[in-house]
Symmetry: C2
Subunit: 416 residues, 2 copies
């Protein structure tokens, strides 16, 4: 029998290296080696590790130094005679990335430099009940402006910004953020329009995804594949597989809050029934309990639980069990062995983890022969804003020549 099946999709055929792109490729090669070194590296070591000649390394190093992508530093004297060698390392004075986040209880801004160091982290407590999207984004724009000005005073140039929103994003539009009462909000345009001049390239992205990236960066490469669960008034998840964020076909992956745990269960504002969110969000845990003025839902739940409130403890019991059922579905589908409890769930982990573990042990097929790790996330509520800032600066890390060849007139950090 003979049939016809098309061969596998071929990768895009490449073209051979040519003279005109050789300089760029070698510059990026050297930059990647400095990035990967993780500590100061000498020109001689760079020549050895890249295979490029010493004069080429010298020329490229000059270019990277002039562009403030790298800096010179003394290498540790290695015990031999002679003067200490000079090492090259990432610069803390050149480009930086801005992260912005709209949390349930606060607005946040963060700047990270090329070395991955947090240089600025600010938040303003805020509740969103009854406040319009333009109003919220104007306040956030003022925080962004303050961050840019503070960084300019430290010789850092913020080149790009990333905004985290709690809900799915497509083509820059926040499709649905029930926590904020948003539906199809062009958050980027509102933010840019709110205060002039904020003429930075701006990307709007999902909060759980950015928080997962924050945790990946912060884990010092000990994490590889994991699910970051973002708990709060809504529930989302960021999925990282082999060190890469899994965004899904259209960027809407990780809608854990709308996984069904009881098909005929409680109605959910999304229009379905029995979504995890109706059992395990802060709102569901609080039920009708009032949140005192000045307190957040998260703090209120924690206080009630610590005081031994039977209603709150029962609600946390249900939340843990339903979270376990939904996470078990996720693990059976994705085959991931690590779960990080983030957002409010990191604070509530001690009341949730036992039930989550029990459901996963019962329901995930692979637990019969391989264990699952469940632990609180590291960065707490700052995960998304730090992840957003890191995502912004990562664009320069991946494409340093974009920074070197930027138009000279463009100076986004200049005060208004």
């Amino acid at each position: 029998m003979t049939g016809n099946i098309r061969p596998s999709r071929p990768r895009q055929p490449e073209r051979p290296v040519r003279q005109e792109n050789l300089r760029t490729l070698n510059l990026e090669l050297v930059f990647r080696h400095i990035l990967a070194a993780g500590q100061p590296i000498s020109r001689t070591e760079l020549a050895t590790s890249t295979g490029l000649t010493r004069p080429t390394i010298t020329r490229i190093a000059e270019e990277l130094l002039a562009g403030q992508l790298i800096a010179e530093t003394s290498l540790t004297h290695n015990g031999r005679a002679g003067r200490p060698r000079v090492g090259l390392t990432l610069s803390g004075r050149g480009p930086a990335g801005l992260g912005l986040d709209i949390r349930a209880d606060a607005l946040a801004a963060c700047v990270v430099d090329l070395t991955g160091t947090v240089r600025h982290l600010a938040f303003t407590p805020s509740t969103f009940a009854g406040r319009s999207a333009p109003d919220v984004l104007t306040r956030l724009a003022h925080m962004a402006r303050a961050a840019l000005d503070a960084m300019a005073a430290e010789d850092l140039t913020v080149v790009t910004a990333t905004l985290a929103v709690p809900g799915p994003v497509h083509d820059g539009i926040a499709r649905s953020a029930p926590e904020l009462g948003w539906r199809n909000v062009d958050a980027g345009a509102l933010l840019r329009g709110a205060i002039a001049p904020l003429d930075l390239p701006l990307t709007v992205d999902n909060q759980a995804n950015l928080a997962a990236l924050g945790e990946l960066y912060a884990s010092d490469n000990t994490l590889d594949s994991f699910v970051y669960v973002s708990g709060g008034l809504g529930i989302g998840a960021g999925i990282v597989v082999d060190g890469q964020l899994m965004r899904g076909a259209r960027g809407w992956s990780g809608e854990l809050g709308h996984v069904t745990v009881h098909p005929d269960g409680k109605p959910c504002p999304c229009g379905s029934r029995g979504c995890l969110q109706t059992y395990a969000s802060l709102q569901a845990i609080l039920s009708d309990a009032p949140v005192p003025g000045g307190a957040t839902p998260e703090v209120t739940v924690t206080e009630h639980a610590e005081a031994g409130s039977p209603a709150t403890l029962a609600a946390l019991d249900t939340a843990g069990t339903t979270l376990g059922i939904a996470l078990a579905d996720m693990l059976n589908i994705l085959d991931i062995d690590t779960i990080l409890l983030g957002g409010s769930f990191s604070l509530l982990a001690s009341w949730l983890t036992t039930n989550i573990r029990a459901e996963i042990a019962q329901r995930v097929l692979s637990t019969a022969w391989a264990p699952i790790t469940i632990r609180p996330a590291l960065l707490g509520p700052d995960a998304a804003v730090i992840g957003a800032a890191l995502t912004s600066i990562d664009q320069i890390r991946q494409h340093p020549t974009a920074w070197l060849t930027r138009p000279p007139s463009r100076s986004p950090a200049s005060p208004a």
Copy 2:
């Protein structure tokens, strides 16, 4: 405030191209261009598209022709005067890949050549009740041997084999295949040991994953991201995102059959309760209905449904609804917009699709602004064995030099 976050995991720094690997890189570059052309391509066109010189193309073409990776063919005369030009295309006489599959009702073997053409497809009806794994794999080994001999007579050399098993696989071990009564079976070793000499490199892989790859190849690049649902006595799924199979952290992704649809529902042999499998597998649909001798569960269900059996129609109703609930969970988690119903579900699609659609419309958040496609798979029950053969030959497509530099003594297709 200043914190310390490690920079993003740098990609493995590359080394510059050197003389010693230049020949290999250029040969693979030319081969990829021939692969991507999809039709015969002349040496002149190759020189233009790769940027390599004509003498280099000529030398590489000789090497590829001598290795039977490509063949010469006449190009369509393009209307100008002179003799028709000679084109280069993939060879149908060189290396080939073997696929083997253990289906619920049959054993199957398939050979695909470098052009992606099915050159051999055989199956032997079989039921596995009461038969040992060595017994089943010995029969399959005889089919593999018959396929190798038939291909040798057509000047094809089978270089590698892939075996599909219905369940999760780790380190070559079939961890759990309840359909076959297997637990921790080293299927590869049994297959290789069953009949000598079957000294091919052999990979054991999950049936749903291989079937998804079969559908990807067969779709002629119209599919990009989709879930392939494999229905039968068990239920599995193969997940393809951006043209790549998503295997999960340890290769156990897609355990759709063990997604929970009713937390306190029917007990499942896996030890959990309310797994999709307990509502939507062929076994669950058949319930206590007897399968006549000679018929398969699949055919029995179809016959009862066509005859209007109220019990079977009610069972299909439940199967469709529960499949819809579990698939909705999967889509909320993965964000994929296309579902292919494969295995037995492709035959039962007309009884299942309405309910699947209704549940997805209610439960998947993104359906509010973007549609989901649900349709039967193209390849029917042969998807996995064809996917397995394509996976085998794909190793040569990706690394043609592995074929060119193989040891001359190794002639896997030589008869025993």
